[in-house]
């Protein structure tokens, strides 16, 4: 049997993120030319880290890398690209203010004899590439004006422009609707057919099985197995990923919703600065009900959250919580009624450099009388410690000390502290924005459990999520935001992933 050429092999890679996070523990993996190879694992397993090591974005501590038979060590992405390896990251790394062609030629710009940037030639070259790979892009469009899926194509094209033969894609489907995913897969298959090698990072097992030739599973920084896609199942992959059997069942029991707790009336947000707006949002959430907001990122979710929390003022319309009109009230007053778990822990949910305890007591320090001494001026630090211990206990947070900086906690534990803090406010309405993004499976299960528990207790929950699987697992009703409008409002058991996907992509139920 002839030995199959290994295009890239990483051997015995060890990577520790300073000071002591062991991200990769003696991982060895190889990729064959012309294959689509998927790298799967739960959040924090080390998939992105491994590819960043290959790409030269992060250094590694031990091990070696071979590419086309030669030992290599890329110090920075430029070297990897020059060698023919390109990576598209999870966060889209484009300059929104630049056009498509400017983004693509950045770093390899064509110049004329005066040293001037040759704009015509650049447009022409980019146009040729677009044709070659059948990507359907307008070179002169500004990146901030085009869709998320189109931006992803620009990222890929940028690498193809530089003639890479190996493409690494990190969670590319996270930002796409169900309808766009097959289109991406078709493109990737075409690329494979023309000789490219694709490495595909994902935690979505259905997709991985549909697209790839081979699949490698990582768990907690170690390689668990490499299997042929045709020879394995979703169940087996999940078991390899997590180390135990994972149930994909919903534990949500039907229950009759109570009175209306949250309501918006004709909510509008129009702003010259903001590209995104809200039009006539009519939304209701009842007690004991979970309403999920689906939608491609950038269709008004950010503005909706800001309006509810009080970070921006709607142009017209009203917001009610528990029959109180909160449209004009200041944030502290809203916090007596609304608990909020934001999308980005570091930006909105916590102060990473402050102590765990200081993060846990936020908002409670004003609303809970036990925190206040002497006419509301002094803080009761003794009670603050007791309070923090309560959260750690009830929500099973793993930490070394409540006085250590918040950033020393893992993502899952950070989310538990934030969730605990918000739930202990005991408010009738809870706003969740991507509550399980970036968490490991264990934490995801825990968070879902908590959400269902408070649903049972009769709280009203509005959850924004990009994960359709999570939405169908938890939600009683699903609404879809498309270009700032609510284009659908359906009970979850009367719809399916495809229908919601169509609404997300086009705003309509009928396929185009």
């Amino acid at each position: 049997m002839a030995a199959i050429e290994e295009l890239i092999s990483l051997n015995n890679i060890v990577k520790v993120y300073p000071p002591n996070v062991l991200a990769l523990d003696d991982v060895s993996i190889s990729f064959r030319e012309g294959e689509i190879h998927a790298l799967v694992g739960e959040n924090g397993a080390g998939k992105s880290t491994l590819m960043k090591v290959l790409y030269g974005l992060v250094p590694f501590n031990q091990g070696n890398i071979f590419y086309r038979g030669r030992r290599v060590r890329f110090q920075e992405p430029g070297e990897a690209i020059a060698a023919g390896i390109g990576m598209v990251h999870q966060e889209i790394l484009l300059i929104p203010e630049f056009t498509v062609w400017e983004n693509i030629v950045l770093g390899s710009e064509p110049v004329d004899q005066w040293g001037r940037l040759d704009e015509e030639r650049a447009r022409q070259l980019v146009g040729e590439k677009i044709q070659e790979f059948q990507f359907h892009l307008n070179p002169s469009a500004r990146v901030e004006d085009i869709s998320v899926a189109a931006r992803q194509k620009v990222e890929i094209l940028k690498l193809l422009y530089r003639r890479v033969s190996v493409l690494i894609l990190d969670e590319p489907t996270a930002v796409l609707t169900p309808q766009e995913i097959p289109l991406l897969f078709a493109e990737l298959s075409r690329l494979r057919a023309s000789g490219h090698t694709i490495i595909f990072i994902s935690h979505r097992l259905e997709e991985v099985l549909a697209l790839s030739d081979r699949i490698t599973v990582l768990r907690k920084g170690k390689k668990v197995a490499t299997v042929e896609a045709g020879e394995t199942t979703r169940q087996e992959l999940a078991r390899l990923m997590v180390g135990r059997d994972v149930l994909f069942l919903s534990r949500r029991k039907p229950q009759t919703p109570g009175k209306v707790v949250f309501k918006t009336e004709n909510l509008n947000f129009v702003n010259n600065q903001s590209r995104h707006q809200l039009h006539n949002i009519q939304l209701k959430v009842h007690a004991g009900e979970i309403v999920a907001v689906a939608g491609v990122e950038g269709n008004g979710q950010f503005e909706l959250v800001n309006a509810i929390m009080g970070l921006n003022q709607p142009t017209s319309g009203k917001i009610f919580v528990d029959t109180t009109d909160i449209t004009q009230t200041e944030i502290l007053e809203r916090r007596r009624l609304i608990s909020f778990v934001p999308q980005d822990r570091g930006k909105m949910g916590a102060s990473l450099s402050a102590m765990v305890m200081e993060n846990a007591m936020m908002t409670h320090h004003r609303l809970n009388p036990r925190f206040i001494l002497w006419k509301g001026l002094l803080l009761n630090f003794n009670y603050a410690q007791i309070f923090t211990d309560q959260i750690v206990d009830r929500f099973k947070v793993i930490l070394s000390s409540k006085f250590s900086p918040f950033r020393s906690l893992s993502g899952g534990n950070q989310q538990k502290v934030i969730l605990g803090r918000e739930l202990l406010l005991d408010n009738p309405f809870l706003l969740l924005d991507q509550p399980t993004r970036g968490l490991d499976v264990g934490s995801i299960e825990y968070v879902h459990e908590q959400i269902l528990r408070i649903r049972q207790e009769g709280k009203a929950i509005l959850m924004i999520s990009a994960d359709l699987e999570e939405i169908f697992l938890l939600a009683d009703r699903i609404v879809v935001l498309y270009r700032g409008e609510l284009v659908a409002d359906l009970p979850s058991d009367k719809t399916n992933v495809e229908e919601i996907g169509r609404y997300m992509l086009t705003g309509k139920a009928i396929p185009e």
């Binding site: 430029g78 020059a82 990576m87 990251h89 790394l93 203010e97 630049f98 950045l106 940037l117 940028k158």
Partner: protein, 301 residues
């Protein structure tokens, strides 16, 4: 007529150092470097200009030395902020104070004076008289006969615009400011871009300083940059960095300078007239703030 021409003359002189420093700062602004060291670079330039001119008898040597002095400060900035990744704000403040201290110290050490050094042996930068242009009826007296550095500033504005918006370097410069991670991923080391932007800033601020001590007046006094570096920072923020906009706004600030001198002839005490440029900056900031927040490159302002 003479009031107007006096005002316009003052406007051009007042605008020139601000424009040059602001142009330098605009490169760092576009590159995403939080550079507040223009004040220190200008002051250093002013000192070395006098040093060079006095000891060599040539204004050209003075100008060259000014640029070198300012570049030295830029290099220190690069060492700390780019290589060692020290906070840019801190580096800028420390460098400004370093410049004040060093120039005052050297003033004492080399010229044996405190406060001001003035001497006929300091050769000023010449004025340029353009033959046909100076005969134009009213404008002629302004378009011709200005200090060399004024013409350099005009040229610098045009060249800066060209570089920033028409060359690959400019594209990368702006990309570095918008999203450095993107630039790194495109294979361009962002640190190089930031270093170049600081060097360019050093050159332009050196020229600004040279104008202050060899053109505007013919001496060096302690702390003679007098807050112009801060005004140029305000200018950059107000026009979001665009070189052509900087030229306009520098003229406005220069006008306020000239206005100050004019008011003096109306018995307004000198201290109040000196306040005019700073009050003007506040007024400009007022109008800027009212237009609502623009796309910010720094989170501070």
């Amino acid at each position: 007529m003479t009031i107007l021409s006096g005002l316009l003359r003052g406007m051009i002189s007042g605008a020139t150092p601000i424009l040059l420093a602001a142009l330098g700062g605009s490169f760092t602004f576009y590159a995403g470097v939080f550079n507040i060291a223009m004040e220190g670079m200008m002051l250093t330039g002013a000192f070395f200009a006098v040093l060079g001119s006095y000891y060599s008898g040539s204004w050209l040597v003075g100008v060259l030395l000014a640029v070198l002095g300012s570049l030295l400060l830029a290099l220190i900035f690069i060492l700390f902020a780019v290589v060692l990744k020290t906070d840019e704000f801190v580096t800028g403040i420390a460098l400004n104070l370093f410049a004040v201290g060093a120039t005052t110290y050297l003033l004492r050490q080399i010229f044996q004076v405190k406060g001001v050094f003035t001497h006929p042996g300091i050769h000023p930068i010449p004025e340029i008289h353009i033959p046909l242009v100076e005969d134009i009826p009213f404008l002629g007296q302004f378009l011709s006969g200005q200090n060399l550095i004024v013409y350099v500033a005009v040229l610098a504005t045009l060249i800066s615009f060209y570089i920033i918006f028409r060359t690959p370097f400019g594209l990368r410069l702006r990309a570095a400011g918008y999203n450095p991670a993107c630039l790194v991923s495109s294979g361009v080391p962002t640190n190089h871009i930031r270093a170049y932007s600081l060097l360019i800033c050093g050159v332009l601020c050196g020229l600004a300083g040279a104008f202050l001590s060899l053109g505007y007046v013919n001496l060096f006094s302690e702390n003679m940059s007098a807050g112009r570096g801060w005004i140029s920072l305000a200018a950059i923020i107000l026009v979001n960095g665009n070189p052509l906009g900087l030229a306009l706004i520098s003229l406005l600030f220069g006008l306020s300078d000239g206005l100050g001198l004019l008011l003096q002839s109306y018995q307004v005490p000198a201290q109040f007239t000196s306040m005019v440029p700073y009050l003007a900056t506040l007024v400009a900031l007022f109008f800027y703030a009212r237009r609502g927040r623009r796309k910010k490159r720094f989170e501070v302002i």
